[in-house]
């Protein structure tokens, strides 16, 4: 067996890891071929993806169903074989040397993948052993993580008796037990109640503070906005936009969503010119994402000596998302 990762002859690109990068892909492509009744069909799930995830960041992969997020995560976690292109995780080619790459990867799936034949504690203990930890180290790590993820009281519980939130926390604990270079969270809060969701983000925040690199996929735009350092909006296997949530919202503020709102506000203000005498209180005012229409609103309000209260025309990541990916249903 050869321990040095070697790009296969089929790939023409030469990929080397950059400074402070945990994930780097070049031309990463996955084409699914299905044999139809009359002819073979090809579905391009991921189309020449060039992606870089930096050390220590929370990177969000957003996109509608079928955009290629899960396939991308699948390829990065060695579970889906790319049709073309390359991907490095912590400098190791996931295709050429999957066993070595796997030690740098921690994965939390959308569905419960806990080992139902084992207890909560054993799920952690055996995970440590799979990753080469000795019995004592694995025991200590299992104890420590159960404590930390507030699951110590359920250590001996069978997995199927855990609530959805507990199971999710246990999966995160398991995924970080072997100290991966990157933690993949696939739709981590889907189907969780608000408390569990909050608890999960608290944990993610703590891991982030400790320098854990995290790549997550999500449909929840407000979560991506709040917690991700950078997001990529993906559709049809390609990245349509990439940047910090603030930058994406800024660039989209020329777009339709907020401008429409701002224009509506302007119209209302002009109408108010004629009906002075009403009371306008409050001064909550957010200039983020201000476009020309908004400036007009402000100017108009100023002119009339009005104080603006609750001016909501703020661009959200959801506007950016819908602008880029359209309103059509995917499934």
């Amino acid at each position: 067996m050869n321990s040095t990762p070697k790009p296969s002859d089929a790939r023409t690109s030469v990929l080397s890891p950059g400074v402070g990068e945990v994930i780097r892909t070049a031309g990463l492509t996955k084409i699914y071929r299905s044999e139809g009744r009359d002819r073979a069909r090809e579905i391009v799930a991921v189309d020449h993806l060039d992606l870089t995830v930096r050390k220590g960041e929370i990177f969000g992969l957003l996109g509608p169903n079928g955009a290629g997020k899960t396939t991308t995560v699948g390829m990065l976690t060695t579970r889906v074989l790319p049709t073309a292109g390359q991907a490095l995780v912590n400098g190791v080619d996931v295709m050429a040397d999957a066993p070595a790459a796997k030690q740098f990867i921690g994965v939390v799936h959308q569905v419960n993948t806990l080992d139902r034949s084992l207890t909560a504690w054993e799920n952690l203990y055996f995970h440590g052993r799979y990753y080469g930890m000795g019995a004592r180290d694995a025991r200590e790590a299992a104890d420590r993580l159960l404590e930390r993820f507030r699951l110590a009281h359920r250590a001996r519980a069978e997995v199927r008796h855990l609530s959805g939130g507990m199971a999710q926390r246990l999966m995160v604990a398991r995924a970080v037990l072997h100290r991966p270079a990157v933690l993949f969270l696939d739709e981590p809060t889907a189907g969780l109640d608000p408390q569990s969701r909050l608890a999960l983000w608290e944990i993610v925040g703590e891991l982030h503070a400790e320098g854990q690199t995290i790549l997550l996929t999500t449909h929840y735009m407000e979560e991506a906005d709040r917690f991700c350092d950078r997001v990529a909006i993906m559709d049809h296997g390609r990245i349509l936009a990439l940047g910090t949530p603030a930058a994406l919202k800024r660039s989209a503020s020329d777009g339709r969503g907020p401008a429409t709102n701002a224009k509506a506000w302007l119209a209302r203000l002009r109408a108010l010119e004629r009906t002075r005498g009403e009371s306008f209180e409050g001064d909550v005012f957010d200039r983020a994402g201000v476009d020309t229409a908004l400036v007009d609103v402000i100017a108009a309000a100023d002119r009339h000596g009005l104080r603006l209260d609750d001016l909501r025309g703020e661009v959200t990541l959801e506007h950016v998302f819908i602008n880029l990916t359209g309103r059509d249903l995917r499934e």
Binding site: M1, G91, A100, E122
Partner: protein, 284 residues
Amino acid sequence: MTTITADTASAPAPGEAEFSRRRATWKAFRALLLRDLTVLDRDLKEFLPNTLMQPVMLVFVFTFVFPRIGQGIGGEGNVGRFSTLLLGGMVAQSIIFQGLFRVALPLSRELDITNELEDRVLAPTTIGTIAMEKVVAGSLQSLFAGLIVFPVAAFLPDAPIYLNAHWPVLLTITPLACYTSAALGLTIGTRMEPRLVPLLAGFIALPLGFFGAIFYTWDALTPIPWLKWLVLVNPLVYMSEGFRAGLSIGVVHMPLPAIYGPLLGFAILLTWLGITGFKKRVLG
């Protein structure tokens, strides 16, 4: 296609120490095995009756009930000979069924319905190693099943007289039979459509058992030539014949090369089918 070059000098080193693939593979393999044996230990109260049920029933019906109701199986005054014949078949059958069921059923469930295998598939080793661990764990469970069936022989009338272990055969046929059974489990568990796997008992186990030369020797099928040749596609035939060769004298069995050759062939074929089937299921 794009060519990406970057500053490689300060690239993150792949692990503090050089990743030793062989060591990681061995550790992961051992841990996976430990996990499966832990689960077996937990399931023992189901495993034991499950394994013993069929041999006990067979012994009771064939060597106690039948002679008393005049069902002359094995021939008049030949109960002892029939018992020794049956013992080899029972050991073989327990081995093949435990190998098959203990690998195929959990595997099919964990791959398809519960996704439980995810964490083990991500262990830092090759997919082939993870599949092979399933075969080894299944083999050990098969061996265990075979071993606990032997005491049943104590209840076989006159059997000890006819029992004479032929150790070189016994010590080679046992691991080969266990391995082949677990490889069959891997093949069925990964290649059979998941919705059909619960029907395994009817589809696969029944024909395997009834045409597996358990309660008759292969040679005894001579009056029905087409059946005699057809049952040769059944690996259980070679196991039953092999255990008869290893356990007893006075019972006709196939020549040893005709037992070892096909069984070895089945072991190789089923390993290949099982591993490729496993890869197909876990890699997109």
